[in-house]
């Protein structure tokens, strides 16, 4: 029987996968992949609560905005990555240390 908790567990596992990807990878694009996973976990939670707790559709609207923000983030993020690659010829996150010193 599927209930709220099964969806929450799926979204929780998705979130953890995203966290591990962001921390373990050193490639900027791979980190962006992890970000997508985390955003999806959040959006899934909104939809699950809408279905099982209060049937008003505000949660769906929030999920829509999350998807919109994910798209915008991917576009700008990848533009930055490509620009970074043009300048540094690398997409390793450890090469982005200009602001550190």
């Amino acid at each position: 029987m599927i209930s709220l908790s099964s969806y929450l567990i799926v979204s929780f596992a998705l979130f953890l996968c995203g966290i591990v990807v962001i921390i373990a990878r050193k490639n900027i694009i791979a980190m962006l992949l992890g970000m997508e996973l985390i955003l999806n976990a959040g959006a899934l939670n909104f939809a699950a609560y809408t279905r099982f707790v209060n049937q008003n559709l505000d949660g769906h609207v929030m999920s829509l905005f999350i998807i919109i923000i994910a798209a915008a983030e991917a576009a700008v993020g990848l533009a930055i990555v490509i620009r970074f690659f043009q300048i540094k010829e690398s997409i390793h996150i450890d090469d982005a240390v200009e602001l550190q010193s």
Binding site: V20, I29, L64, A72, A74, A79
Partner: protein, 180 residues
């Protein structure tokens, strides 16, 4: 019965895809597994009765984000250098055992926090009778232009900003001379 099967399949696709995004050593493969995972999430939305969300997920992710990711991977080359330009050893860009250990520890901490928050829900949650699924398209449309009109406008401005920003950032500039 049908919903249960659909949920199991979608959850399998989602979690399997996400796990393979974590494990895969090839960035291109990781991206394809991300696509699988996102399709699984779309299936989960469908089992939740969120038909419009599921379609949006398909349109935005399969049509846009994943192709953009593949493009970026292709344009930045799949090559991996083990040494940076000063000759110092770099951590391999797809991660090592060390980085994975750190990631696992951090995720363990996160999971403690989240499970602590969620545990009363798992214990005391009683399933009420669910209403039948209905079409959500009209209601979402109405909500977007009434209750959430401001957020809708702001998100359109955000998308316009992202469009222009992405175009400006990635535009090739002349190295010497030019506008500066």
């Amino acid at each position: 019965m049908f919903l249960d099967t659909m949920f199991l399949l979608s959850a399998l696709a989602t979690l399997g895809g996400a796990l393979m995004v974590v494990m895969s050593k090839n960035l291109m493969h990781a991206c394809m597994y991300l696509l699988l995972s996102l399709f699984g999430v779309a299936g989960l939305y469908a089992t939740l009765g969120a038909d419009f969300l599921a379609a949006t997920q398909l349109v935005v992710y399969a049509g846009g984000v994943v192709i953009l990711m593949l493009f970026a991977i292709m344009l930045t080359g799949g090559v991996e250098e083990f040494v940076n330009k000063f000759g110092i050893n770099k951590i391999p860009s797809m991660g090592t055992t060390k980085t994975y250990t750190i990631g696992a520890i951090v995720s363990l901490i996160f999971s403690f926090v989240i499970l602590k928050t969620l545990s009363p829900l798992f214990k005391n949650y009683s399933q009420a009778d669910l209403p039948p699924m209905e079409s959500t398209v009209e209601d979402i449309g109405v909500l977007l232009v009434t209750d959430h009109a401001l957020a809708f406008e702001i998100s359109s401005v955000l998308l316009l900003g992202a469009l222009i920003g992405a175009a400006v950032i990635s535009r090739p500039r002349k190295i010497n001379g030019g506008s500066k």
